[in-house]
């Protein structure tokens, strides 16, 4: 890495300067919409997923507001059923699946590998447009009243309801292809585009996480496509596949659906773990302890992700022996998850720790993922799961993993890489205020849900018994604090774009490769082809020039 020069070569006359920064090298809307630059595609994804996150967040706030009081608060039952479904669909398919891989992965995977771009830049742009096309179908469905099936589309409900299931399912089906193509692209890029000296044992853990995620995307997403396709066939042609009235089997749908959707939750969390590894290393100025174990644990999670779908069916009438096998396999997930947590905490030991805002998100991730993981063990334990299944305990568990984990990882990454992506610094004080609100708001919202869940409150309930009122109200107030935190964060980032100070090359003093290129990076990422001489976390080998700000 020492050989990465930061001086600019003389620009050629008459052509866009390859060393000009990627944001200003070419101008105009068309230059963005037709760009093959992975960084610009990454930013377009970033803008799209942030819009989706805002939309899904508004739906979440509406759900919580309705649950402020038993009975009707602001909407009727059918509206509520649509809103919670849209919250799930938007957050899962439009936001969280593409969030870290497609937005930050696109931007940083090639740079971290020392490459000029991904292996197939045109395919990369195509993935983005397929995502947009799929999102349009989802929007079309929403504008016409949306769906009321829950994001899981369980049959026979989803074949009987007269809401707009088909366009929504078609949207998810199309977005699946975007996910597959991005996965293929990343796998090829990791294999073929590494700079000289970028050995597998020097790959950043973010890359390992994206690599594991890509494998899951390529292998699991086709099953979702097949399942949703069968659902459409059943609705259109009346061929009995899942509907018992037509001779189908409704539980078969659940098997198919979770065969994708369980790996999908690992598609969501593993990239977040990759971000956290980067953050812990940079802000402790220390190599991640047990690097290879952490890397392999991502692949371990990817593998186990395929073997545990059955735990979603423990009360669906599955045989006791199947339940036993799926319970045992689900417990195994704790091992690679634990390996990551232990190694992150061990990395802090004898580090040089800075508590800048990205690090705060990483530390909160560790705390919340630990809770999310351990409550997952409650649900893996058959005896307890029978009671907790489909209650708010499950809602709280997966929000601790998906929000407390992935969303915190995503925003930690956004704070971390923001100066590199936009070349601007942000107001650290505001960032920390936003963090405090998000952290407190999140934990208040979902801690209350664990308790009402174990006390028996079922999920997806418009109305509830008076004994649950207090917990619902605590949770709703938490959602307001959380929402406020995100508003402060939004203001902070807008302020940075409008009037942020110019960021130096390496504001965090990191020795990772992406911090050795200018902020924002030039079109070709590297002014001279990089030669990698040490790993991304080898602070003891880094030169003073690498760790310097400029």
């Amino acid at each position: 890495m020492a050989s990465v020069a930061t001086t600019h070569a003389a620009p050629h006359h008459g052509h866009a300067d390859p060393n000009a920064d990627y944001l200003t090298a070419t101008k105009g809307i068309a230059s963005w919409l037709t760009t093959l630059d992975h960084k610009r595609i990454g930013l377009m994804y970033l803008a799209s997923v942030l819009v989706a996150f805002a939309l899904g967040g508004i739906f979440a706030l509406l759900v919580r507001l309705e649950l402020l009081t038993p009975g009707r608060t602001i909407m009727d039952a059918d509206t509520y059923n649509h809103i919670f479904t849209l919250h799930g669909v938007v957050m899962v398919f439009l936001f969280i699946i593409p969030s870290v891989p497609a937005a930050m992965g696109n931007f940083f995977l090639p740079i971290q590998l020392g490459a000029k771009d991904v292996a197939f830049p045109k395919l990369n742009l195509a993935s983005f447009y397929i995502y947009v096309f799929g999102a349009c179908f989802a929007l079309w469905s929403m504008i016409h009243g949306g769906v009321d099936t829950g994001w899981t589309f369980y049959t026979p409900y989803s074949t009987l309801t007269n809401s707009w299931v088909i366009p929504m399912v078609l949207g998810a089906f199309i977005m699946g292809f975007s996910s597959i193509l991005t996965g293929v692209n990343f796998i090829a890029t990791v294999h073929k585009m590494r700079a000289p000296g970028m050995t597998w044992s020097r790959l950043p853990l973010f890359i390992w996480a994206l690599y594991a995620t890509s494998i899951m995307q390529v292998l699991a997403t086709p099953v979702l496509a097949i399942t949703l396709f069968l659902l459409m066939i059943e609705r259109f042609l009346g061929i009995g596949i899942f509907d018992p009235k037509l001779g189908g089997d409704p539980v078969l749908f659940q098997h198919f659906f979770w065969f994708y959707s369980h790996p999908a939750v690992y598609i969501m969390i593993v990239p977040g773990m990759g971000v956290v590894s980067e953050l812990i290393a940079t802000f402790s100025r220390k190599a991640i302890v047990g690097y290879m174990f952490v890397a392999i644990s991502s692949l371990g999670l990817a593998l186990l992700g395929f073997l545990v779908w059955g735990h979603h069916l423990f009360v669906s009438g599955m045989s006791e022996y199947s339940a036993m096998v799926f319970s045992g396999l689900t417990f195994l997930v704790a091992i690679p998850s634990g390996v990551k947590v232990f190694n992150w905490v061990a990395t802090l030991y004898k580090g040089s720790i800075s508590l800048a805002s990205p690090m705060l998100y990483a530390l909160a991730f560790i705390f919340q993922f630990t809770i999310g993981g351990l409550t997952g063990l409650f649900l893996a334990m058959l005896a307890i799961d029978i009671h907790l299944h489909d209650t708010y305990f499950v809602v709280a568990h997966f929000h601790y993993v998906m929000v407390g984990g992935t969303v915190f990882g995503f925003f930690g990454g956004l704070h971390y890489w923001w100066p590199k992506m936009f070349g601007k610094l942000y107001d650290e004080k505001l960032a920390q205020i936003a963090f405090a609100l998000v952290f407190i708001g999140f934990n208040v919202t979902f801690m209350a849900q664990f308790i009402m869940g174990s006390r028996g409150m079922p999920r997806r309930y418009y109305d509830y018994l008076p004994q649950f009122t207090l917990y619902h109200q605590i949770s709703t107030v938490g959602s307001w604090i959380l929402g406020m935190g995100f508003l402060v964060m939004l203001g902070m980032f807008i302020k940075s774009l409008a009037s942020g100070k110019k960021s130096p090359r390496n504001p965090w003093g990191s020795c990772a490769l992406e911090w050795q290129v200018p902020s924002p990076p030039p079109v070709t990422n590297f002014v001279h082809d990089p030669v990698i001489t040490h790993g991304p976390y080898d602070y003891h080998l880094a030169t003073a020039a690498e760790l310097a700000e400029d």
Binding site: G150, V289, S316, F331, L348, M381, H387, D390
Partner: protein
């Protein structure tokens, strides 16, 4: 179970509702063992994290440490959790099998889930919606099915849950060991009134149970017909489809029902003035005459005695 650890929480605790069976109390022991395990683990991890960020806060001139050789550490924190999860898996599976094995000579009750009510059928053929009476200290087997979409029969007080799936039977087996009322929820999302698909299990003495099953549901002392009708209206979950305040609902609203003129969708074009005979027919044969605009909704059959129907009609006329 786990008695050696002396973890015997009272039946109602902060995290769990009152338990109505010994097996449910066993589940609670497992739950609390898991809870304390998790709490200790979280405190240790978070404590270490906070200690390190305090102790190794960045200072000028920090020496940047190379990564040490940690293979032994890695093996340790892989193997020890494996041992833990083997124990947890074993305990969890044992508790599950304990609840899953059906009792011999159990009292068999048929349970049918329909949007949006639970119907119970006793061995003598008597049927009732929304309320089930069971004798204490006698094993019970519920045989579940669904008439439309998937429902899930959830009794927090028994720590039991099972999906009612259209096209197949599933069952739940338990031995209630104390009297009282256990709440029943539908736990699998089933549409508009999913959250109102509730029922109550009254666990009563054997004598009270025998009397009830023999005589069938009777008007409670001191209630007028209309008052009993209101109880039946709620117990049978009529409110999940018919609003009483004129607001939109899956079925026609019951506000100002009596004497109203309605156009029928089935048979099409027929006009009817709503009276006792129409109401009686509609309760017994819901598909006979359906108000226009509601023909796509399938009202389920209700098995009610003549006395109950009289009481219901008396109540409906007060709205």
């Amino acid at each position: 179970m786990l008695a050696i650890l002396n973890l015997d929480p009272p039946t109602t605790t902060f995290q769990l509702p009152a338990a109505f069976s010994a097996a449910a109390s066993d589940v609670d022991d497992i739950y609390y063992a898991m809870y304390w395990f998790s709490l200790v683990f979280t405190v240790v991890i978070t404590g270490a994290l906070l200690w390190f960020i305090f102790k190794y806060k960045r200072k000028v001139g920090d020496k940047l440490e190379p990564p040490g050789n940690v293979t032994i550490l890695e093996i340790t924190w892989t193997v020890i959790p494996v041992l833990f999860i083997v124990v947890l898996f074993h305990v969890g599976f044992k508790g599950y099998v304990n609840q899953a094995v059906p009792y011999e000579n159990a009292l068999e009750i048929r349970v049918r889930g329909t949007r949006w009510k639970w119907e119970f059928e006793y061995p003598n053929g008597m049927r009732e919606n929304g309320e089930l009476r069971l004798p204490v200290n006698r094993p019970v087997k519920l045989i579940l099915s669904s008439d439309d979409v998937i429902h899930s029969f959830f009794v927090p007080g028994l720590r039991l849950k099972k999906d009612a799936v259209p096209g197949m039977y599933s069952s739940l087996s338990f031995l209630p060991n104390q009297t009282g009322d256990a709440q029943v929820f539908c736990a699998e999302y089933c549409g508009t009134s999913h959250s109102a698909m509730l029922a109550t299990i009254h666990i009563v003495s054997q004598e009270a149970f025998d009397d009830y099953v023999k005589a069938g549901p009777q008007k409670p002392d001191g209630l007028t017909d209309a008052q009993w009708g209101e109880k039946l209206f709620l117990q049978n979950n009529c409110n999940t489809c018919h609003s009483r305040d004129g607001s939109k609902s899956p079925g026609p609203t019951f506000l100002h029902l009596n004497g109203r003129d309605e156009m029928m969708g089935t048979p099409a074009g027929m006009s009817i003035k709503i009276d006792d005979n129409y109401l009686h027919e509609s309760i017994q044969k819901p598909q006979a005459k359906i108000v226009m605009g509601f023909t796509s909704v399938q009202m389920p059959q209700f098995s009610l005695s003549e006395k109950q129907i009289d009481a219901l009609i008396a109540y409906l006329k007060t709205l």
